[in-house]
């Protein structure tokens, strides 16, 4: 995984609550056995009409959102299915952070494992961000994970919470599997003292 560095970017605003992973990447695209091509299918049914042409009123198709690396969305973003295809699609498209008032648990975990930063901001700031964006859709925000701050166009820096362990993994560009593998001794000790309740190989 590449290291997560500070960046500044335009914002794509999606003022909808409870955006579910079926919208982020519709189920019919999950028949793939790889991770390739998912960026093109991101928000497919909101992004394209029945004939496959971009819908001009969908945010990702607006000129202001070109090159946006930050998605600003409504409450409880990423609810629904556990498909990791959702953060894969978002990152392949180019997003590096999503801002909301809350995230669904599994989506948040999946995102952190894929270099996509879920940024939780207070309701007040959230509303302000949408208002600022409505006034200036070309506004930019700066994300600094080292400092855990989001810098607004007016210069204010808003702190956001991140799990310290996930933050370290993102900043160092390492994944958690390596960390678990280092705990071989503890895992082996657990197995030695706990009999397995089942054996799927032996019924």
């Amino acid at each position: 995984m590449t290291k997560f560095t500070a960046f500044e970017s335009r914002v794509a605003a999606l003022p909808v609550d409870n955006v579910d992973t079926d919208q982020i990447i519709p189920a019919r695209f999950l028949k793939t056995v790889s991770k390739e091509g998912l960026g093109d299918q991101l928000f497919f049914d909101w992004r394209y009409d029945a004939g496959g042409s971009p819908k001009p009123d969908f945010v990702l198709n607006t000129p202001e959102a070109k090159e946006a690396r930050i998605l600003l969305a409504g409450d409880n973003f990423g609810c629904g299915s556990s498909r990791e295809h959702a953060p894969w699609a978002l990152t392949q498209y180019g997003f590096r952070a999503v801002i909301s008032t809350s995230f669904a648990d599994i989506f948040k975990q999946n995102s952190l494992k894929n270099g996509l930063l879920p940024i939780v901001v207070p309701r007040q700031v959230h509303a302000e961000l949408f208002a600022m964006h409505a006034r200036d859709p070309r506004m930019t925000l700066r994300v600094d994970l080292e400092a855990c701050t989001l810098t607004l166009p007016d210069g204010r820096a808003v702190e956001f919470p991140v799990d310290p362990f996930a933050r370290r993994c993102l900043l160092d560009g390492v994944d958690e599997l390596g960390w678990i593998l280092q705990q071989e001794a503890a895992i082996a000790a657990f197995e030695a003292s706990h009999a397995a309740p089942i054996n799927t190989l032996g019924a």
């Binding site: 029945a50 609810c79 990791e84 669904a104 197995e191 309740p197």
Partner: protein
């Protein structure tokens, strides 16, 4: 005296491999269920790193999401789906994992087969690359959905880094009225707490109503914990649980059964244990529930009216509700009862078990599906299908004009060709009504098997109590 603990904490504590300051806890996983959609990239990861599957004996795979529900004598016609199924079967062979493949007589929806085979047991930790893993919590297991990166971690190490969740007690008391079922309890709960209401929490369902439910009904409740935002939902085991498990292929036997019973009886929450959140529901006041919108929290009693966005104060919430009603083409303030429908789907890991099929059949017996309606009945697994056929349920469905199909996820997720046409309305016993969930442009109304069957008969959204 140790501090009184909830069942959630007991199962967590019993699976702690390590807990270091500044890092998540490492939790041991007793059962890992695998299916074709969320696993191929995880197996690729193992190959890339040169890792093996640590505990194939704690892992079970099946195919369900993309498999057709047409007769098994036909091959999988969708080449992309066929390749994904073949990939899982090949990965399982390569890594030594047992798999109930496409032609297995044990194949079925991953959350149906675990309990059915006795793999899911009280006090276990269970994971699967699927959010409805919460289902298995009905047995007093701590069971939750994970992403593909986590699938890879569990395959490689049988462990998962986890942060402790908050505990959420949902107490349901009172007797359900006729026509009101487990599905209505959970739809009512989600309508009340919202689709984010359980975020960060594990729910424990308790109370006299939950105790009176069968295991199958309990699974309907825990299954949809995720629709309330909770990763897991648990029900303490009792005699209903033990009776269900006894004699199942993977359940302990003889002396091991007695020892397991002794362990399991210590699992229920201690007197005086504290929860982070609590809510109670009066079961006697519940009506059959149905959803009108595009998330499972948008539910109302069957006789209710579609809510009006104008009455919602929060602008984003109002916008979200308006968008949902526009997609569903429903008018605020109008009742749902009597609205024509096109499709009825009975099946899924929420309501695809024998008890669900029996409920639907009880309404259809001696009646016909309205000619306007296509009704699909999809058993949750091959064993469910065989049992239903042994009882003659398939005959009741066929005689009524419904389609009796092979086991799988089918129109719950519409990956296998079973899907709605754009604009169609379905009453579905599944768990998600997101835009396009049952097919691009399709409109889903979630309800119980009873409500679904009644609506199939009348061709319009119906209150099953008029047919009882």
């Amino acid at each position: 005296m140790t501090r009184p603990r909830t069942i959630i904490e007991k199962v967590w504590d019993a699976h702690l491999v390590s807990e270091q300051p500044g890092a998540p806890a490492l939790l041991y996983i007793d059962l890992h269920l695998v299916h074709e959609v969320t696993s191929p990239q995880a197996f690729d990861g193992l190959r890339r790193r040169g890792l093996k599957v640590r505990r194939p004996d704690l892992t079970q795979a099946t195919v369900d999401h993309g498999t057709p529900t047409t007769p098994r004598t036909l091959p999988i016609l969708d080449q992309v789906a066929a390749a994904q199924v073949a990939r899982l079967e090949a990965n399982c062979r390569e890594f030594g994992i047992p798999c109930f493949g496409f032609l297995s007589d044990k194949q079925g929806v991953v959350h149906v087969i675990g309990p059915e085979q006795g793999l899911t047991q009280p006090g276990m930790t269970v994971v699967c690359g699927d959010s409805h893993t919460a289902t298995h919590g009905a047995f007093g297991a701590l069971a939750f959905g994970i992403g593909t990166s986590e699938v890879e971690m569990v395959l490689a190490t049988q462990c998962l880094p986890q942060r402790r969740s908050k505990t959420f007690k949902v107490e349901v008391n009172g007797a359900l009225k006729p026509g009101v079922s487990a599905k209505d309890i959970i739809l009512a709960l989600i309508a009340r707490i919202g689709v984010g209401g359980g975020t960060g929490c594990v729910i424990e369902y308790c109370g006299s109503t939950i105790r009176a439910l069968s295991m199958e009904e309990r699974m309907t409740v825990t299954n949809m914990s995720i629709e309330g935002g909770a990763r897991a939902g648990m029900i303490a085991p009792d005699n209903v649980t033990y009776q269900y498990l006894h004699g199942r292929p993977f359940a302990p036997q003889g002396a091991a059964w007695e020892a397991a019973l002794e362990r399991w009886r210590r699992l229920p929450t201690d007197e005086g244990a504290a929860y982070d959140k609590e809510i109670s529901i009066d079961a006697a006041a519940l009506e059959p529930m149905i959803t009108f919108g595009t998330n499972p929290g948008m539910g109302i009693p069957i006789s209710g009216a579609v809510p009006d966005p104008a009455a919602v104060a929060d602008p984003l919430e109002r916008e979200t509700l308006s968008k949902a009603l526009k997609y569903m083409a429903l008018e605020p303030g109008k009742p749902l009862l009597g609205r024509p429908i096109d499709v009825v789907f009975v099946g899924s890991c929420t309501n695809g078990r024998l008890a669900d099929l029996r409920a639907a059949a009880s309404v259809l017996k001696g009646r016909k599906v309205n000619p306007r309606v296509r009704m699909l009945v999809v058993p949750g697994s091959q064993p469910v299908k065989r049992q239903a056929e042994a009882e003659g349920l398939d005959e009741i469905f066929r005689a009524a004009g419904a389609e009796w199909r092979e086991a799988g996820c089918s129109m719950c997720i519409a990956m296998n060709g079973d899907q709605l046409e754009p604009g169609q309305y379905s009453v579905s016993t599944s768990n998600r009504n997101f835009e396009g969930r049952q097919g691009k442009g399709g409109r889903t109304l979630l309800a119980s098997p009873l409500t679904a069957a009644a609506s199939a008969v009348n061709g319009v959204i119906s209150d099953v109590r008029t047919l009882l």
